[in-house]
Amino acid sequence: MRFPALLALSSLVLACGGSDDAGTLLRISGSAVGAEGEILTRQIARYQAKSPGVRVVIQSTPDDASQRHQLYVQWLNARVGTPDVLQLDVVWTPEFAAAGWILPLDRYSPPRRDSFPASLEANAWQGRLYAVPWFMDVGMLYWRTDLLARPPATLDELAAGARRAASGSGFVWQGARYEGLVTVFLEVLGGYGGKILGPGHEVLVDSPEGVRALTWLRDLIRQGISPQEVLTWHEEETRFAFQNGQAVFLRNWPYAAPLLAGPGSRVAGRFSVAPMPAAPGGAPTAALGGGQLAINAHSRFPDAAWRLIAYLTAPEQMLERAEAVGQYPARRSVWSSPRLAAALQVPPDQVLRIVESAAARPATPIWTELSDVLQIWLHRSLAGQAGPEAALREAAREMERVIERSGLRKGIP
């Protein structure tokens, strides 16, 4: 009696897990709060309507990037097959790829030629592409057109402009101890011609360029060009300060533009965007951020997952996202669309210049750990607990230890 019952049960389980499209249940996880959630729900509904037998469910995860990352790592490490489609932050792809948690996408011929080089670089690991860029984030400088005639051409001009026009908080940026601080530092560092890491995991952050970059940031606070509060501020606090007319310059991501131009903003119609300037010898650098879509290596429906990704990252859907939430399209071809010009609050050709200058953070599977070390030492130095040189030397020493422990220099994995 017991044996046939078991058999019946197992055949039932098999019947439910059919591999054809009928009965395919895909779970996707990513930013699904507010307007982003609405647009994603709408696009998924359209996709389901045109793909009979496929059901797509949004699996909710925390909106905070590092919390979502922790959850992903715990799930993927336990080889859970869902979510099938994962929205990844730009710095996670090499980590997940090296761990074997997401699938290489080359056999699906992803849209390489229509993507930006920095995006491709960030989403590749050992020559293979593991995630498709969905939307692009780039760090940029918002400046007040009513207070200045033109955007600053150098870092010194930026500091001088902020000091001269300082009406409270001259230049506001993300200085709290989190990933955002590292992206700000990366842009100033690039402006001085420095790098955090070399291609073979050589730590380069404690170079003279690094010290100059950190000294520049620290002096902003010391000289009152940036308020001390920036050391506790994330994106939103800086946006509020700029939006209330308290600052001349704001370093932030594209999401701020529609909000700054919207009702309730005191600077609507009185701001524009420019690339973060550089010092002589460096190049304007924009930190690359944004969302990518990847396939869980243990998904039961990898092919169906790919079809969903292809749909969500098609030009039409990207354009719709730009219109709904102001996110920048990750496909080059979309940038020539007149609909995009109408959707963005700033002229697309200006923004495209910034997008082209975007620099990926080092593509390494241990980025989050290295960044953690850097965040602490940058914050200590900016808070006056350590000089820039000593702070970067210590940071480099600790980063060196993490790299050593990872075994990456010995060619693992």
Partner: protein
């Protein structure tokens, strides 16, 4: 079945439950702490590394910083809480109108969830909109607003105030219970002998309150030593890691960096230290009760 066997059989369920929920996780944590188990570096596997994690911990400046912060926080906050708690307990022990109401009201800070209390204090100490700056500048104690959370020394102020505000009521109630156990006849006798109120406090109240004081001390020290949520919300351990206590450092190692082996070793160290503290206190308390007998 002998009586001895019966006894074992009867306590077996309790022993098994204790082993399952207390001893097994503890043993597992100790075993885990002897491995390198790093979820962020899955290609390394989970090799047995002996005491490597412990060696790394004691050579890590951030660990010793966290230890120092924990000891500092525990010493300062517990001392203030005991002092203030005693004061409130003595006041509440008097007979006055509305005493029941006041006793209940005192408990309000204790009943507010720590995370909510921490947020509250963060808003109070906000540099621009906080009441703390407004009051201090208004009264002339400060020339200009202080950005509390960006300097190590000032970041401790809201942390310690919040903890004192929240847990002093607990101490006060514990001590109040102790006070009510003291026989009023002793005070009458002391008064007849001509002892001043001050003398009564030193020679009658405090000696008889020692057991209650010891209990409050144990509870508060062990709690303060494992401080986590208050600081996590209020300062996040910053600026840099200047207010990071041991429990927050362990949390970061375990849940942000997902270093399970290293985090387990840190947990074992916290366990050993609190266990040692508890033993010391219990020994002190034990000799105390002996004395009374």
């Amino acid at each position: 079945m002998t009586e001895r066997r019966l006894a074992w059989a009867l306590v077996a369920p309790a022993l098994i439950v204790t082993a399952a929920v207390a001893l097994f996780p503890l043993g597992w944590t100790v075993w885990e702490s002897l491995h390198q188990h790093d979820l962020r570096m899955p290609w390394l596997g989970r090799p047995f590394v002996g005491l490597d994690n412990y060696v790394e911990i004691v050579s890590d400046g951030r660990f010793w910083g966290a230890m120092l912060h924990t000891v500092f926080f525990t010493a300062v906050s517990v001392a203030v809480e005991l002092g203030l708690g005693l004061f409130f307990a003595l006041a509440l022990n008097r007979v006055f109108r509305g005493r029941g109401m006041v006793r209940a009201a005192v408990l309000i800070p204790w009943s507010i969830p720590t995370v909510v209390a921490a947020l509250l204090w963060r808003f109070l100490f906000d540099a621009q909109a906080g009441i703390a700056n407004a009051v201090l500048v208004g009264l002339g104690f400060l020339d200009e607003p202080v950005v509390w959370l960006v300097r190590a020394a000032t970041a401790w102020v809201p942390v310690i105030l919040a903890d004192v505000w929240k847990t002093t009521p607990f101490v006060a109630l514990l001590l109040l219970a102790g006070l009510q156990n003291i026989d009023p006849a002793l005070y009458e006798a002391a008064a007849v002998d001509g002892a001043t109120a001050w003398r009564q406090l030193w020679n009658v109240t405090l000696p008889l309150l020692r057991p209650a004081l010891a209990v409050a001390l144990i509870f508060r020290t062990l709690d303060a030593f494992r401080i986590f949520d208050l600081i996590y919300v209020l300062t996040g351990g910053g600026p840099g890691t200047a207010t990071e206590p041991l429990a927050l450092y362990t949390f970061n190692a375990l849940f942000s960096n997902l270093r399970f082996g290293y985090g387990a070793a840190l947990s074992v160290i916290i366990f050993l230290v609190t266990f040692l503290l508890a033993l010391l206190y219990l020994k002190g308390l034990g000799s105390l009760t002996e004395e009374e007998r």
